[in-house]
């Protein structure tokens, strides 16, 4: 009897202590097999329409984690797709990535570099942007002109330690004879190392710097949004950089990841990217390169990357 009373009292206390359910349980939570996690170093205005369209068409819920390529690559736990990586970086970290079947990139043009563990999803030109208010005479014509002394301290450049596109720029500049000297001269003309491409464009637009080297799509998007910038396609040759996507080895939803890559390599997505995101298509049917296009080889760039970065680090530390 005594124990019964104690139990009754305890039950009364517990009932009194339990909180009201303050919200409804969600009925249509996506099942685990209907999810996809994308790691990307693209800007939100670039990946959002792609992700949203994919969600609407397939019903797969996409979580996006954005950040710098280096930070994201350090921990790929939970990642299903790497999107918007420079191809040479994907090539350099190939041991973390899953081998993709050729069928996936069956419609990709042979002009575009491809890898075993990554597929090209867009091609971007390396362009120069400058502030027309600050540069009126002798605007830069190509990458070689960036090594000249009049531009000392006036060039905006994203930190190649964090930005894969900047590494590609250094790769291009260090080609040929006197590569280290060319890098040294380029370093001498830099104003500072900035965080990302957006900051480069903004610093040129607001007059902090006179010019910068950026991907074509970023330059076009910002010009389209109203910034007063001039875009220059290097006369000596326009380097075309491949942007790729890959699936990590431990991707929790590899089928959904494959579906996403298939979507990205579909005509609709490629057409949308070209029209609205200024990213050239990689498909056989629609690939178009500008005149004097130079195809950047990500494979050889990947093998030289570590040495190049070491050299650059040394040069930059010596720079006063």
């Amino acid at each position: 009897m005594r124990r019964m009373m104690i139990l009754v009292l305890l039950a009364a206390l517990l009932c009194g202590c339990s909180a009201v359910d303050n919200s409804d349980a969600v009925a249509d939570v996506p099942a685990q097999n209907q999810r996809l996690t994308v790691f990307t170093c693209l800007e939100a205005q670039v990946y959002t329409p792609l992700v949203r369209e994919f969600q609407e068409r397939t019903g797969i819920y996409v979580e996006v984690r954005s950040g710098s390529a280096g930070e994201l690559m350090e921990n790929l736990e939970g990642c299903d797709v790497l999107l918007g990586w420079e191809a040479d970086q994907l090539e350099a970290d190939a041991e973390k990535l899953r081998t993709l079947d050729r069928e996936l990139s069956g419609n990709v043009s042979s002009l575009c570099p491809q890898g075993e563990v990554w597929v090209p999803v867009s091609i971007r030109a390396m362009v120069i942007v400058y502030n027309p208010k600050l540069v009126r005479q002798n605007p830069p014509a190509d990458l070689e002109s960036l090594l000249q002394s009049p531009w000392a301290g006036k060039i905006a450049f994203a930190d190649p330690g964090k930005n894969a596109f900047s590494r590609s720029v250094l790769q291009v500049l260090s080609r040929g004879e006197n590569g280290p000297e060319r890098l040294r001269r380029f370093a001498g003309n830099l104003n500072a190392l900035l965080a990302d491409t957006e900051e480069v464009i903004r610093s040129v637009a607001d007059g902090s710097c006179c010019l910068g080297v950026v991907p074509e799509d970023a330059a076009r998007l910002w010009v389209d949004s109203g910034l007063d910038l001039t875009v220059v396609y290097p006369q000596s040759g326009v380097w075309m950089l491949t942007e790729g996507a890959a699936i990590p080895k431990n991707a929790p939803h590899p089928e959904n990841a494959r579906a996403f890559l298939t979507f990205l390599l579909g005509e609709n997505a490629q057409s949308y990217g070209k029209t609205n995101l200024f990213r050239d298509s990689v498909l056989k049917k629609s690939v178009e390169f500008p005149e004097k296009a130079l195809i950047y080889d990500p494979v050889s760039a990947a093998s030289d990357r570590d040495a190049l970065m070491e050299q650059w680090q040394q040069i930059w530390e010596e720079e006063p």
């Binding site: 009292l9 009194g16 303050n22 919200s23 969600v26 249509d28 819920y61 609709n268 057409s271």
Partner: protein
């Protein structure tokens, strides 16, 4: 714990009072707070649901209107023929457009897109502009939907779009009717429905933001919600806000009402702090009160318990004084009466026993006199008959002395006085037994002042005479005294025939004494034991044909050392 409670009456009262006072207090403390919070939350839930239903109705009406308008327009001959390219007369189309969209234009913008995605006609105040990709976004959705397709905006001013494909009779697409609802449109739509403060979020089927009533925080709130839903499957948050959910069936959009809890985290912390504080105060006060009450109630019980313990230890003088008129007071009074009566009974009992002992002693002493008197008178008689001599006067004198001593009230006399009585006694006995014996008294001076029971030696001497030397012609009796470990031993020896063993046994063990035998020795022994204890009394030794020795052992007390009659129970 139970053992501690059972150990003491005070502990039982303490535990009981503590439980009875503490449990209701704590229960009230906890339950009232929880009930108050629960009721408030339930009321808030009901209000929130009501609010969401208002929003849902407004959104449903908007969508229904959009559906109705686009359906009408897609069936309009003018629209269809214009989209087919049969006519380029936009004036009539615009008339139709504005007429049909009259109910909708306050809440949305309606555009007509050609099949290539170019915007041809609009209800907006500006010229039609822009182009949409037919293979992407809202146009793609419309081309793949049976009726109205919905797509959330990608940021900017557009909240969501609804579109219907205008199809030819063979199923081909002629164009699209696109209804664009902006953030501002939804602000206006929902403004009238606000009944209380809070934030409205509209999320699409993929939990992406469509609309937020507070644009500054809407994006971050939507991101947080989406992440939580995908992780945990519900909207429960960290407690800063409460979320209430309702889904609009037509669009599949989730209407979420975000509101501060009735009692914020700070307020709840205050409630809990107060609750804990009052709980602790209750515990302390209940402990103190229970202890005081239990002490107050059990104090008289403890006093009586201690008193009874002292009674058990033999102290009957203890009394419990309780100045109360209740049951405990009456109990204490009864206890006092009981111990007092018990004490008095004990005293009376002791007194009676003492008187009994005294009476027994006196009776024993008196038994001596009649026996001697009979023998003396007998002796006197024969002497008078035969000799007509004055010894009879001597006999009478001696007898008188002895009689006086026997009836005196003193229970103890000095040995010197006792030996004088022995002398008188012997004089009488000498006459009776015609000098057939001699009696030597060899007692040192140091013993003369020792106290002995009155007439204690006569029976011993008499025994020696009657049972020892009476049948002899040269009987010899000797009285001696010695000290033995603080005791005075008076011995009477004779050279008689000895005491038979059975008689000896009866003398030395009074329990085996047969009635009537050796009464004198028995009485002396009883007197000695009554006065002095079992270690004293009479002891006899005898050798048949040689003689006997009867000794009397008493404590050695000299008259000059004490005035009172010595009683040594040894």
């Amino acid at each position: 714990m139970m053992r501690w409670i059972r150990r003491s009456f005070q502990n039982r009262i303490f535990a009981s009072v503590l439980l009875v006072t503490l449990i209701p207090l704590l229960l009230c403390n906890v339950l009232m707070l929880q009930i108050q919070v629960r009721r408030s939350e339930e009321a808030q839930l009901a209000d929130a649901r009501e609010q969401l239903e208002l929003f849902q109705i407004s959104l449903e009406q908007l969508c229904a209107t959009a559906d109705q308008v686009t359906r009408k327009l897609s069936g309009s001959t003018v629209v269809r023929s214009t989209l087919r390219g049969d006519t380029e007369e936009s004036r009539i189309l615009y008339q139709v457009l504005f007429r049909e969209t009259q109910d909708l234009r306050q809440s949305a913008q309606v555009d007509i897109y050609l099949k290539n995605g170019v915007c041809g006609y609009t209800t907006a105040a500006t010229l039609p502009a822009g182009q949409l990709d037919p293979d992407w976004g809202i146009l793609y959705a419309a081309s793949h939907a049976q009726g109205l397709a919905y797509r959330a905006g990608l940021g900017g001013d557009t909240a969501f779009q609804a579109a219907r494909a205008v199809r030819s009779y063979d199923g081909g697409i002629l164009g699209y009717l696109v209804v664009t609802v902006t953030q501002e449109n939804l602000d206006t739509l929902f403004r009238a429905d606000y009944a209380m403060s809070g934030e409205l979020l509209v999320l699409d089927r993929a939990w992406e933001l469509v609309y937020g009533s507070r644009p500054a925080t809407a994006a971050s709130a939507a991101r947080e919600l989406r992440g939580r839903i995908l992780d945990t499957g519900d909207l429960k948050g960290s407690g800063d806000y409460r979320y209430f959910l309702l889904q609009e069936p037509q669009t599949g959009y989730h209407l979420i009402w975000k509101q501060s809890p009735v009692f914020g985290a700070g307020v709840m912390r205050t409630f809990y702090s107060i609750s804990v504080f009052t709980g602790v105060m209750s515990v302390v006060l209940c402990l103190l009160y229970s202890w005081w009450l239990s002490s107050f109630l059990s104090k008289p019980v403890h006093r009586m318990d201690r008193a009874m313990k002292r009674v058990r230890e033999g102290d009957l003088s203890v009394r419990v004084e309780l100045d109360r008129e209740d049951e405990l007071g009456r109990l204490a009074a009864s206890f006092n009466r009981m111990t007092e009566e018990y004490q008095n009974n004990l005293v009376r009992s002791v007194q009676r026993q003492k008187e009994l002992n005294d009476t027994q002693i006196r009776m024993m002493q008196a038994q001596l006199n009649p026996h001697f008197l009979y023998n003396t008178l007998d002796s006197m008689k024969w002497l008078g008959v035969t000799n007509h001599v004055p010894q009879i006067a001597e006999l009478a004198t001696d007898l008188a002395t002895i009689l006086r001593a026997s009836i005196s009230e003193e229970e103890f006399v000095t040995l010197e006085q006792e030996l004088e009585l022995i002398d008188r006694y012997l004089e009488i006995q000498y006459i009776r037994f015609a000098d057939r014996f001699t009696c030597e008294i060899d007692i040192g001076e140091e013993f003369q002042h020792c106290l002995v029971p009155k007439l204690a030696l006569e029976p011993l001497v008499e025994n020696a005479i009657i049972h020892g030397v009476a049948d002899q012609s040269d009987g010899y009796i000797k009285l001696t005294a010695r000290e033995d470990t603080g005791a005075l031993v008076l011995e009477v020896r004779d050279n008689g025939c000895g005491i038979p063993p059975e008689a000896l046994e009866q003398i030395n063990d009074p329990d085996k004494r047969l009635p009537g035998s050796h009464l004198g020795l028995y009485n002396v022994d009883r007197i000695a034991k009554l006065h002095f204890g079992p270690g004293y009394g009479v002891h006899a030794e005898s050798v048949s044909g040689v003689g006997s020795c009867v000794s009397l052992r008493i404590p050695l007390n000299r008259k000059e050392e004490t005035d009172a009659e010595p009683i040594d129970r040894g």
